[in-house]
Every structure is written in C-alpha cells, then in structure tokens.
C-alpha cells in the first residue's frame, strides 16, 4: 500500500477522533500538572461534535473533508485548541486541495502545512509562533512532519514511514519533559513545568501512534 485515498483520510480522522474521546480524562490530567486542566475536555468537545456532524461533512475529496473537519474543530474545541487544531486542519486542506488520492510525499506536505498553519496562528496573536523547544504541540508535530519528509525523500514504504513518524512525535513529546515552557499556558509557571510533558505534544504522540497502528492493520 503506497497510496492514500479520501477514504483513508476519513478513516484516519475517525481513528483520531476516537483516540481523543477515549483519552479525554488522561489528557486533562496531563494538563493539570502545569496548565489549567482543560486540554482533554476542550479537544474532545470538538471531536465529539465532529462525530455528531460526521454525515454532513463534505467527503468528496481530501481537501474538502479536512476543511470541513477544521471548521467544526474551530467552532467547537474550547480554549486555545480550537484555533490551533482548526488551523492545522485548514492548513492541511489548503495544501492538498481537491485531490482524491496522494502518496507519502503528499502526506509529508500535508503535515508540514499543518505545522506551518499552527505557527502562523500563534504569530498572528503573539508576534511569533511556537517553535521546537517552546514546549507546545509543535515539539511533536514538527519532528513527525520532518520524519515523513525524510522518508519520502528516501523512497520508503508508506506504513513503515508512518510508524517512524509516530515514534518521532512520541520522542519529541518525551523531550518536552525536560524543558521549561516558553509558549502556551504552561509558560505561566515557567520552570515548574519541568518534569511534565506538554499535554498537546504528548497527545499527538498517542494519536499518531494509534493512527499508524490502525493503518497497518487495514
């Protein structure tokens, strides 16, 4: 399997939504350590709504589907998660456009576009977006996207490349344990965020691992 169709993207987002909903409480608890404890709930709220509106989401092509998801996430995810996750989906949608099929290179481009969109959302409000090392979900998203880009360049197979990228996200999240937050809510507590991973980065590690496992069993 080296192609990803619209159906595959629908399957991956559905898997993602299930993982987020199942992990609502653990994700909240992670955020309690250094943040304000709403992360799991805020993200789950948007993805629960997405599941509710699932039949109405445009599924004609990959871009329309991702954009439709992004708008629901923007509207229903609470806190900072709405703008961040919403912009990631909309950035990804814009990148892939009305394609109905793509490959590993296309997936890598989509993930790079998602990371870029998150950066720009931060930049609009704070003059600069989060970069790796600020202790945000970017610490997992960027290594994951970079791993996909490298795998595409090396001509690797799709599923092993996705597994590798998921591991890069997990490793990136792990590294956030050892740094003090510079952006996001945990920045308010500075050094007291050390020893706790960033909740968003950690969640992405869990989500990408779950997606690559599910895809490999397809």
């Amino acid at each position: 399997m080296n192609k990803l169709t619209t159906q595959d993207f629908i399957f991956m987002v559905d898997t993602m939504a299930n993982i987020i909903i199942e992990n609502e409480v653990p994700f909240c608890e992670l955020d309690s350590a250094a943040g304000d404890g709403d992360f799991g709930m805020s993200v789950a709220k948007g993805f629960k709504q997405l599941k509710k509106d699932w039949n109405d989401v445009d599924k004609d092509d990959i871009g329309s589907f991702l954009k439709g998801c992004g708008m629901i996430i923007l509207e229903y995810c609470g806190g900072a998660s709405g703008p961040i996750w919403g912009s990631a989906f909309r950035g990804a949608a814009k990148c892939i456009g009305d394609a109905k099929e793509t490959n590993l290179q296309g997936l890598a481009d989509i993930m790079q576009a998602a990371a870029e969109a998150v950066y720009k959302t931060g930049e609009k409000s704070f003059g600069k977006g989060a970069v790796v090392g600020d202790k945000t979900l970017i610490d997992a998203l960027v290594p994951c996207a970079d791993s996909l880009t490298a795998s595409a360049k090396a001509g690797e197979e799709l599923i092993p490349a996705m597994k590798k990228a998921a591991q890069a996200a997990v490793d990136g999240a792990e590294k956030t344990k050892y740094i003090s937050a510079k952006m996001g809510r945990a920045a308010n507590v500075g050094d007291r965020s050390i020893n706790y991973p960033d909740a968003g980065a950690y969640a992405l590690g869990v989500i990408f691992t779950g997606i690559s496992d599910a895809m490999s069993k397809k």
Partner: protein
C-alpha cells in the same frame, strides 16, 4: 465532588440561564453562550469581554450600565471559541465600534483576535482589542506570551465602561483602557485548590498548613508552595511586591481591590483588607476607593488577591462614574 449541579455538560448553560432570570435586563443567547444587554445602545462604543467560565461574577456579572455590553462564556476555564466571540461582535455592533477586553492567555488571545479579524473583514465592523496582563506572579520576558490577566481586569471593565458611557470614541476608549492596564497590578495566594465540574476532583493537592503563593485564577500552580503565613505577613509581602512593580511612591492615589477566589468568607476578606490597608497607610499611599468581595473567582478556591490601580485625574473620573451591573454597583 459536592456541588449544586444537574450534570457537568450543561453546567455553564444552566448557570447563565439562572443569571438572566435574576436580571431581566440581560439576555442569554444559548446557541453562542453569550450574555448581553437586551438593549444595545448603537451610539456608544460596545464593550465585550469574556473568557473561560469559573470566574463568576466575571464576566457576565459585569454586563450592564457603565461596564460591559456583552460577556462571552467559554466552558469552565477554557476560552470561548472564535465563532462564539464573532457572534458576540455581530450581535452588539454599534456605530462607534467595538472594544474587546481580553485577559492575556494564549487561548483567549487567539480566539478573540481571530473573531476580530473575521468581523473586520467580513462585516466591516470596527473592532479594537486590549489585553489585560496584571498578574505580577508571572515573569514577563521576551520569550513568553507575557503576564496573565487576573482580577485587575475588573478595573479595566469599569474604566472602559465609563469611557464608553461618556460617549468617547473607540480610539479614546481604547486609550483609557490601556492606561488602566498600564497602571494596574495584582498578586494572589490560594489556601485550597478548586474543582472543575467536568473533572470532579481538585486540580492540585495542598496540605492543611500550606499555601500556593502567586497563584492564578484557574487553580494552576503559582510561584511557590509554602507554609501558610499570617494575614499581616501576606499583606506586607504582596503590597511591597506591587509597590515595587508599579513604582508607587508616597502620596500616590490608588484604587484597591481585595478579591476573593470563591471559597473565602467575607469576614476573612475584610480582615485581610485591614492588613493591606495598614501597610498602604504606613507607606503613605492614599486609598481613594476600596472594593472587597468575590469579583474574579477560581470556582471554589480559598484565597485572595490584591489588585492596585494607580490613579490620575482621568482614571478617578472614570472610576467615579455610575455603574449598575449585577455584580458591581457604585
């Protein structure tokens, strides 16, 4: 968890419905979770604030004459969404434009800024934003998003509300709001944690003899966990820190807010006000007006914060202006 509750999912909605029933001059639009004046005055600048719920009476309790026109209510401790704020802007647009008063948190900034951009681009509504960042517990540096907004926001609502009521332009209202922001500082401490309804357990554990110094208004950690201190010791420490940060000197005039976090009884807040006022008197700083009460809470957290607003003639005039809202009447 022991609360007066039906179920966590409808907690915020039922609370807002209850508020609107107690104050018929306000209406609650459930679809967008906004509390607004029934009658919007199209000839004055519209003021909108909001944020996560859990800070009651902030912000819906400050909707009324001389303060806010609309409060946008997020879930407990989570910013309202961009779409909620956008709808609040559209439903309260006036000829003079709209000022958004935002507490400086990542989520609030992104959602309110995104909504302002949508309203400007799609609906030609004139929108400006100010960001309150009064908590001196948070280190301000080039590498972070800056200090967070806490109880000092109540003064900003009051000052901007008076400016709007007096017929000032959007630009003028924004300027005076920013003047209030530049001159207000806060610092607080918690004796207990708080319980978010959806989670059901306290956000942090704390010993009977401990306090969290420099705490925020979401049960998030503060500067340090310490042994509890006496009211006089806390007052001295907090007032001195604010005086230094605000560069207050003898003879300066201030407004003082002793803000309870939700579970501290008024008797303790008045006692604490006595301690704080004594320190200010010793320093020969003149207290022009004092507010004591629960204005910006963290659900059921015990503890309090001190906010000090340094005054000049203009801020005094705005502070003295009539205000009539559910939670503040002067």
């Amino acid at each position: 968890m022991k609360k007066i509750i039906n179920k966590p999912e409808t907690f915020v909605i039922e609370m807002c419905q209850g508020l609107a029933k107690a104050h018929p001059e306000l209406e609650f639009i459930e679809k967008h979770k906004i509390v607004k004046k029934k009658e919007i005055n199209k000839d004055k600048v519209t003021l909108i604030s909001g944020g996560g719920s859990g800070h009651e009476p902030a912000h819906a309790g400050f909707v009324g004459k001389g303060m806010l026109d609309v409060a946008v209510c997020g879930d407990v401790f989570a910013s309202p969404t961009t779409i909620q704020v956008y709808n609040a802007i559209c439903k309260s647009a006036s000829k003079k434009g709209t000022l958004l008063i935002i507490k400086n948190y990542s989520g609030d900034c992104m959602n309110f800024d995104g909504a302002a951009e949508m309203a400007k681009e799609d609906d030609d509504i004139n929108v400006e934003q100010v960001y309150v960042n009064d908590d001196i517990a948070v280190k301000d540096s080039l590498y972070t998003v800056g200090r967070r907004g806490v109880a000092g926001t109540v003064f900003v609502h009051k000052i901007a509300g008076a400016a709007a009521e007096k017929g000032k332009s959007l630009k003028e209202a924004k300027e005076v709001a920013n003047k209030a922001i530049a001159n207000v500082r806060s610092l607080g401490f918690a004796l207990t944690s708080c319980t978010v309804p959806a989670k059901g357990t306290p956000t942090f554990d704390i010993g009977d003899d401990e306090m969290e110094f420099g705490v925020g208004i979401h049960g998030e950690p503060g500067i340090a966990r310490e042994k509890i201190q006496s009211s006089d010791e806390l007052a001295k420490r907090i007032v001195n820190a604010i005086i230094t940060d605000l560069k207050l000197k003898q003879g300066d005039e201030i407004a003082l807010l002793i803000n309870g976090f939700g579970a501290t009884p008024l008797q303790e807040l008045y006692l604490f006000n006595n301690s704080v006022s004594n320190v200010l008197e010793e320093k020969k700083i003149n207290i022009y007006k004092t507010l004591v009460g629960n204005y910006m809470t963290a659900i059921d957290m015990a503890g309090a914060s001190v906010s000090i607003l340094k005054l000049d003639a203009e801020l005094k005039e705005m502070l003295d202006y009539e205000v009539n809202t559910p939670a503040l009447k002067l």
